[in-house]
Symmetry: C2
Subunit: 353 residues, 2 copies
């Protein structure tokens, strides 16, 4: 089995996701507050894991739920379904969504496919495959919409990562000196490559964080919005490109951008939800979901005067060596401080590991 | 590229290995104290990484060194070789040993192939492939011999892991209660599987440790000895089976067994080393090598009277799902306390991850 799936075959990891009650609660509410939409419908759960969403759908009144899971977790999902007395409604099928067949088309596809910064893991691919293979023309996706955000923040974490990088490089110099002294081998020719490698790791890799709303230096901006019913497989496989413009009301130093997402459960035009549930991963005073926010470090920080704006362009591309990982580029960045006062900023490259 | 190799493509990881000076120093001495053996010889370094062993061999007088490396680290090895002015002697070849060809047979194969508990990673396979493909009939392997040891120990670590496992299971029960309360879903049917999974992780997975000699409750026993010049590829791919008998001179409670290894650089019968270097990973008061020792937990501990013996049989097999990982079984274990006083002990299964 591909490496990607292995994590999901552990109950420990399933527990981690289940006890993210912002996440699990949102799916629970999306089902339970929209029983009219689920009643007597046929549902498909893509990547059911422990089977929880399939169980919610069944409890909301679905007449049949196909719960597809690639890993051996399918066995546990089956046990869990049985224990709830739902084995007549929920059918757990072990296999990838790309390989399974279903005896009928479905009214609703429910799936928790979101990765860090929404798109990491590229599991949306599989949901769209499922949609195009199995969803009736008037069917609905749960969730139905997704949005991506960036927000300017101050962050001790970005300073720390910067510092850790310096420490590591200092330590390298000691190491090089030792190697020369002990073995008469000069490793200095690798110093530049080592520094690059460490910067990649400490500074150019987006960092998971639980950002507090007070760290926000301006309002988050939505730079991408996906209608999951209509977005095509080709569209999401291409680079996502968008412009952003972030307002900084106060004088401040922007040390990083926090990236996060939300998804909405609106049903479909022909079967709209009664109660539209929102699952947000925005910075919150009550703490982050398991997705947290991803911080893109702008260390040593961009000093911004009152009432200025940071503009730029974000590109999100899949990594050539692993399509489930992402590269993020912030380019054409500029700081605008009034009508004709524009200062170019550096270009930044980040990995999402 | 297979996942296995990825770690080795980072300088950070190469540094970790290089600054293990017990390791690097042993190879340095094995070369420098045996210059007569290296002088004007042709050498092959299997998995050269940063190129350090190839450089040692060249400095010891080899007329030609082929340095084979599967990862992109080969590029750095080339830079390092150039920087030492050795590019006429050392030829870095990127590729797996199974796929490369050399223009000639070699006199010496040097390689640092040892994994945790000697055999993890199964890289010895590649060294034996190299030996059978490229080594002259009277050639030598550096190292030439390897031995594996077990020692009875007391260990707070095994107690801690045991405790962590209990804590995790307790936490699971709270989680199950929450899931019932919040979503009316009963996860109790998965409790047994969760406990098994956690025991696998916390108790049945061998743990890296830096064991202090004072933790030893009796002398280490050597249970396996490999002559790398003669052992066959088939032999090392089969399960390694051996008996052991560990003497406990004092009354004590054996809480775990520490597994470790050493390798010796004796040259070959036709080209023996002048100075036989030993690289040992045994518990040491000056701290562990990066291999440490692997602890197999026998919690809650085996109470042993003075002058008793723990006997048993160890089986080491490769994992079906990943041949670079190992399963270790301790079976037919018994505590012998005098002529006719023998008490059977439990059977233990461990993973080496």
């Amino acid at each position: 089995m591909a490496n990607y799936f292995i994590t999901y075959s552990y109950l420990y990891h399933q527990k981690d996701m289940l006890e993210d009650h912002v996440r699990t609660g949102a799916y629970f509410n999306a089902c339970m507050r929209n029983k009219a939409q689920f009643k007597d419908r046929v549902v498909l759960d893509v990547g059911t894991g422990s089977g929880i969403l399939a169980i919610f759908a069944a409890k909301a009144g679905a007449k049949k739920v196909y719960a597809v899971e690639a890993t051996s977790m399918a066995q546990h999902a089956r046990e869990l379904v049985d224990a709830q007395g739902l084995s007549k409604v929920v059918e757990v099928i072990q296999g990838t969504i790309e390989s399974v067949t279903l005896p009928e088309k479905v009214d609703i596809i429910i799936s928790e496919w979101m990765g860090y910064f929404l798109l990491r893991e590229s599991m949306l691919d599989s949901v769209l495959v499922a949609r195009d293979k199995f969803l009736k023309p008037d069917g609905a996706l749960y969730p139905s919409h997704a949005r991506m955000f960036l927000a300017p923040i101050r962050s001790q974490l970005t300073q720390n990562r910067f510092q850790e990088c310096s420490n590591s490089v200092e330590n390298w110099h000691d190491f090089v000196a030792d190697m020369k002294e002990y073995y008469d081998v000069d490793l200095n020719c690798l110093t530049e490559s080592f520094i690059e490698e460490q910067q990649d790791y400490f500074v150019k890799t987006a960092t998971w964080a639980d950002v507090h709303p007070n760290q926000l230096l301006g309002p988050p901006v939505c730079f991408a919005s996906l209608d999951l019913l209509t977005v095509t497989q080709d569209e999401i496989k291409k680079a996502l490109e968008a412009n952003y413009s972030m307002h900084l009301p106060q004088m401040c130093t922007v040390e990083g951008l926090a990236g996060f997402f939300d998804v909405e459960f609106k049903g479909s035009p022909s079967n709209p939800a009664t109660d539209c549930v929102l699952l947000s991963t925005a910075p919150s005073a009550t703490g982050a979901t398991h997705w947290g926010q991803l911080i893109f470090s702008l260390q040593p920080g961009i000093p911004c005067p009152q009432n200025s704006t940071i503009e730029g362009k974000i590109d999100i591309t899949r990594r050539g060596d692993n399509h489930r990982l992402l590269d993020v580029t912030l380019s054409e960045q500029a700081l605008r401080m009034g009508e004709n006062n524009r200062k170019d900023l550096a270009k930044y490259l980040f990995h999402i590991e």
